[in-house]
Symmetry: C2
Subunit: 221 residues, 2 copies
């Protein structure tokens, strides 16, 4: 029998979204425990004991210990549940997949998470309008870099690498979804990114993991 | 004969420092090509063709293609030059090593790189004093999280995981070195981090890779 998997999540978190997609692609069931980051539920002592960053996601499989950082969790899932693989076989293609993912997961997303937004507007006194500009600037920068990398690379297929969704797509989709949700990002300038986003969202694993379908998402309408 | 390895680097870049350490730990020789990020050399068209983010590091081994993103490069080096390993064998310990690394390499460092500092002071008009506060705040946050994670974990040894330096140490050392260089960070509050930093810097691979020993570092005195 498979060990129980628990994922601490928040409907709108890009990082939790990545792990939800990866679990679905691997065909793994997980109990989702929702934390309301806007209400500060991540700062409780109980949760901090699991995740000293007071952030999502945290994943616990079986006896634990808890694992944090979405990209570390993706690698763990790949190593312990290898089928279907999220990374290609060739080491250079694997590096390319990870680089695509990290362009948005390391170089964009950490700039716009709740703790950073709160620091900018609170401690540094940045007005809301400048915060919006900040968020859009880095999201656009990430999308532009993805487009450049994907449009020119012979390894790009129906998905970021070839014709099977994987690590890079798992990072691309939450990034694009955030840009669309926050400022109705116009993807016409990024045709390769737009095409891959649509191809992913046509797959159950991506569609079911998206923010609006999470149990803690505000009800539509 | 080993394929030629070229690393595009900048003496003060944390991300390039990580790769320099990893290469040294693996016993790999690389030709270092320095780019002066303060003079904008990374924005030349030739370099952008290698690295669409216009950032360092970029690594080329043999015929290429160029590889970007320091953490993707670390994984590539681990997969293609497995001895000595930078990651432990156990999948949960591997996740822990990667999480420790990403706490600083994904959640702190991207907030303080040159392009972000320039955007804050230029486009958003943040005064220099607030930029200093911003840098120190996130560097301290990262160090505090590392200390919490390392101090309580039975897997912590002389280094971040056990008694051999690896992935997490490769990320910890450039982070701590930056905090010390930028604002003479007081490590007394972080005894485990301080102890591991000293243990690393006593090793040739770490000491030789540090910023002040790079050919493009400004001459002392």
């Amino acid at each position: 029998m498979a060990a129980k998997v628990t994922l601490y999540s928040y409907w709108r978190s890009q990082a939790a979204f990545r792990v939800r997609i990866a679990l679905a692609l691997k065909g793994m069931k997980a109990e989702i425990v929702s934390l309301d980051l806007m209400k500060g539920e991540q700062f409780g002592e109980g949760y901090r004991a699991l995740n000293p960053e007071a952030a999502v996601p945290t994943l616990i499989e079986g006896e634990g210990p808890p694992m944090i950082q979405s990209l570390a969790i993706l690698e763990y899932l790949e190593e312990t549940h290898p089928e279907p693989p999220l990374l290609p076989k060739d080491p250079r293609a694997r590096a390319h997949a990870r680089a695509l993912g990290q362009v948005v997961a390391a170089d964009v997303h950490p700039l716009i998470v709740p703790r950073v937004r709160q620091y900018l507007t609170g401690d540094l006194g940045l007005p809301e309008a400048k915060l919006r500009k900040w968020r859009e600037h880095w999201l656009e920068t990430g999308t532009r870099t993805l487009e450049t990398m994907l449009a020119r690379d012979a390894r790009t297929g129906r998905f970021c690498i070839g014709d099977t969704p994987g690590y890079a797509d798992v990072c691309l989709v939450p990034h694009v979804a955030t840009a669309r949700m926050l400022y109705q990002a116009d993807l016409a300038k990024y045709p390769t990114v737009a095409r891959i986003f649509e191809a992913c969202m046509a797959q159950d694993a991506f569609a079911a993991a998206q923010p609006v379908h999470q149990p803690d998402a505000p009800l539509a309408g």
